[in-house]
């Protein structure tokens, strides 16, 4: 299916170019724009770590739409096959080439239909040229988006994190893409005064913009990696909870995506899930590792851990919601949780998300007093406590998400020999084995 789709796009691209007409294409301008396309495509800003990259080459195509018309623009787009980027497979090259040719051709047709005149713009063309140009730029962005999403739909498995994240990123890219498309009009407009040199002048802001985007992406990734590493540091002492933060973060994002959080809140819930138990550091190791019932004082220190966590992360410029999520992730819908005993809708949405993710990971992980529960059994437990401990909305969302994206429970861990004291004997996150507290003793 994917092959048919790619083949169709490539064939369509070849078709629009081969049909012509080639009259009225300024060949020198074509050469300069081909070069411009390749240069701006050479080192695109990576948008997400693995597969998706995005380059500012749309400005070359849009300039071609104005200067050369639809067919010339399609030729400029088809050069994408010869991108100097490394590691692009031959199928990808072919697809990109066809996709850009089709996109450019459609944009060129829209430009003409909206009243644009192909050729070097004159002073009298302004400002009348702006409307058809913007129409062409929008078309270019949208058609590009549709074609790329089409191939992703066929090649990336449905419901996977990559696709959903990409879906959000791509919409956040249409706007910047339109911004860069405007450079296309600048190149065309300046052509009459400084000739091909206009392309050179335009390259500078283009590269700077791309540099800034790349820096932003790099910093964001560094930030997440550092946060994850520091959270792991907290877990190193207790091998049963290793990876807990990261898994809770992942499960929280699954729930949040299912109930339709937008990009920024999704990022915030990812961080909140990661950091939710950081306050456990403030609980004495003796209490965390105590076997048998806790005294009320000891239980109180455990109940305080969300507050200690908040104390640590408060200074980070997070959304307030993430902070509320960390603080209240042990509240229960029936009001019997801690630290404040909030009930129902009083509990912040983030906290209700994290609460479900937290309990689920605890149940599906090995503990010193029991083996890991299978996912199915953990889901049954979630259903059982839904409405009492958990928000039914979150439980349903999580179960729906689990149906599409299978959960990878952690590897079962065996306690290393000679280190029995380093294990958590009770787990405050485990809803099936509540902490034993000796009541009424002072």
């Amino acid at each position: 299916m994917a092959r048919v789709y790619v083949g169709a796009v490539v064939a369509l691209g070849g078709l629009v170019i081969s049909l012509g007409p080639f009259s009225g294409i300024a060949w020198r301008a074509l050469g300069v724009l081909l070069l411009l396309f390749l240069i701006s495509d050479s080192a695109p800003a990576l948008i997400s770590p693995r597969q998706h990259s995005w380059s500012a080459s749309s400005s070359a195509i849009l300039a071609a739409v104005v200067l050369l018309g639809p067919v010339g623009a399609a030729i400029v787009g088809s050069i994408a096959a010869f991108t100097p980027r490394r590691g692009v497979r031959i199928v990808q090259r072919a697809f990109n080439s066809g996709m850009y040719a089709v996109t450019a051709y459609v944009a060129g047709k829209v430009y003409l239909a909206a009243g644009g005149v192909p050729g070097v713009p004159k002073s009298s063309s302004f400002p009348a040229i702006i409307a058809p140009f913007v129409a062409a730029a929008v078309t270019h962005a949208v058609v590009n988006d549709i074609l790329v999403n089409g191939v992703l739909r066929l090649t990336v498995p449905a419901g996977s994190a990559g696709r959903a994240r990409f879906g959000q990123r791509i919409t956040s890219l249409v706007v910047p893409d339109l911004g860069y498309a405007m450079f296309g009009l600048l190149i065309a407009a300046l052509w009459r005064i400084v000739g091909p040199f206009s392309a050179v002048l335009v390259l500078i802001p283009l590269f700077v913009a791309r540099w800034a985007v790349a820096q932003y992406v790099a910093q964001q990734e560094a930030h997440e990696a550092t946060m994850a590493a520091l959270c792991q540091a907290v877990e190193t002492k207790d091998f049963y909870t290793r990876g807990h933060s990261e898994r809770v973060s992942k499960a929280s994002v699954m729930i949040a995506r299912e109930i339709g959080f937008h990009f920024e809140r999704l990022e915030a819930v990812r961080h909140a899930g990661m950091l939710h138990d950081i306050g456990k550091l403030g609980v004495p190791t003796l209490v965390l590792q105590k076997s048998g019932a806790l005294t009320e004082e000891e239980y109180a220190t455990i109940q305080l851990h969300p507050m200690r966590g908040l104390e640590i992360v408060r200074e980070i410029g997070f959304l307030d919601e993430a902070l509320a999520g960390i603080m209240h992730h042990h509240e229960r819908v029936d009001g019997k949780g801690y630290p404040l005993g909030l009930a129902g809708d009083e509990i912040p949405e983030f906290a209700r998300v994290i609460g479900v993710a937290d309990a689920f990971d605890s149940m599906t992980s090995t503990r010193s007093y029991r083996d890991a529960k299978p996912v199915g059994e953990a889901i049954r437990e979630l259903r059982k406590w839904s409405g009492a401990q958990f928000d039914p909305v979150m439980v349903d969302a999580f179960i729906a998400a689990l149906g599409r994206e299978p959960w990878q429970p952690p590897e079962p861990v065996a306690p290393p020999a000679g280190e029995p004291a380093a294990a958590t004997v009770q787990d405050h996150d485990d809803p099936t084995a509540p902490l034993q507290v000796i009541r009424g003793r002072r």
């Binding site: 407009a189 500078i204 802001p205 560094a222 550092t226 946060m227 907290v234």
Partner: protein, 435 residues
Amino acid sequence: MQQADTRRSAWQAMDSGQLLLICAAGMLVVAAIAQTAAVGMTGMQYAVAFGSLVALGELFRITLPGGRESAPIATAGALAYTLLLRMGSRVTPHTAMQVIATTAVGMVVGALPHLAAGRPTSIDAMARRLLAVAIVALVFRPLASSIEIRRHWWLALAVMTLLVMVAWFTDAVIAALIRAEALRAKFAVALWDELRVQAPLGAAVGASAMLIAFAAEVMGLAALAVFMAPLLVTQVAFRRYAGIRLTYLQTVRALARMTEVGGYVESGHSHRVSRLAVAAGRELGMNESDLLELEYAALMHDIGQLSLPDPIPGGATVLVSPADQAKIAELGAEVITKAGVLDRVAEIVRRQSEPWRGPQPGSPGPPISSRIIRAANGFDDLVGSSTDRERAVAALERLRLDTAAEYDPEVVEALSRVASRRSLPDVESRTFVRL
């Protein structure tokens, strides 16, 4: 609470360099407005259009890494107005004084909403932006009426490029002078930092200004609308970049407190060590990117203690055996290495426990950042949150006794200069006063 007590009003905080800069800009503006009023404006509608663009840019200004205020759209708009040769087919003969007056009015209008919202406005940054534009205007506007410039586009382009670069350099020099004085950094280092931070955005702004000046010949005022979009996108990218950098720093600062909440070290230890270390590093002439790495490493220097089964009593690593110090450093470096992006920081943390001369005579010692952290950590373990001068002097004396092998004497001297400033009301002191 302490922070509020030591915060001074904007005017008191200003040093002589800033005052001089603002006075110069103020006088220039007064002269420009007076002259423009006397001679009259030419091309009123263009002045209004570009002035509005400046105001808009000033409204949407951004803060670059290191707390540097910047208004790329305003600067580009003002420079474009300065470099304007023709608008459509009409020649634009506006004078340099008119450019300065227009820019100044635009800036003030754009700054008003910020003032109304009570946001801090750095007048010296505005003055700097205005002066940079004024330099270009005073040289280029007289040239703009010459025939050669109008006839040969390459000549115009060359002159414009040169002038924009001169303006950018001047701006960086003034900014570096002010920053060096405020932070007690070395001027050459401050200038280099300034040039590096400002270079990408400066290039984009300069090129955009030239683009719009040329484009106006073809497109008329529509050039303003068309050029706005790409620069706006660039600005958004920069704003996000600066934002995530700040969040990153905040995250490391916050998570460094894990060791304190866990009872491994004394409260405030990581932050005091990082402040001391950064101040000492600046004293020793380190540049900004090295200082950032030093700050990260200093904040996380005790993170290895999280892997220890039991906290060290009192948390003072200076009192434990060298083998344990090395172990904590190694564990900390391991944690940081896991992030995959902070390898240099991990290396600094790993080698913080090494004596500065290296294990054998002649072998290379640890990097300067590690040596600084070692000394700052030793100092803070002995002094803690105390503000007692005598205690600080005694601690420095003890560090000096160990300079034969343990502590780098140069670092200890830098530390002592920093520590002696603790009671002085300079930029850094505020951060030292803590309860």
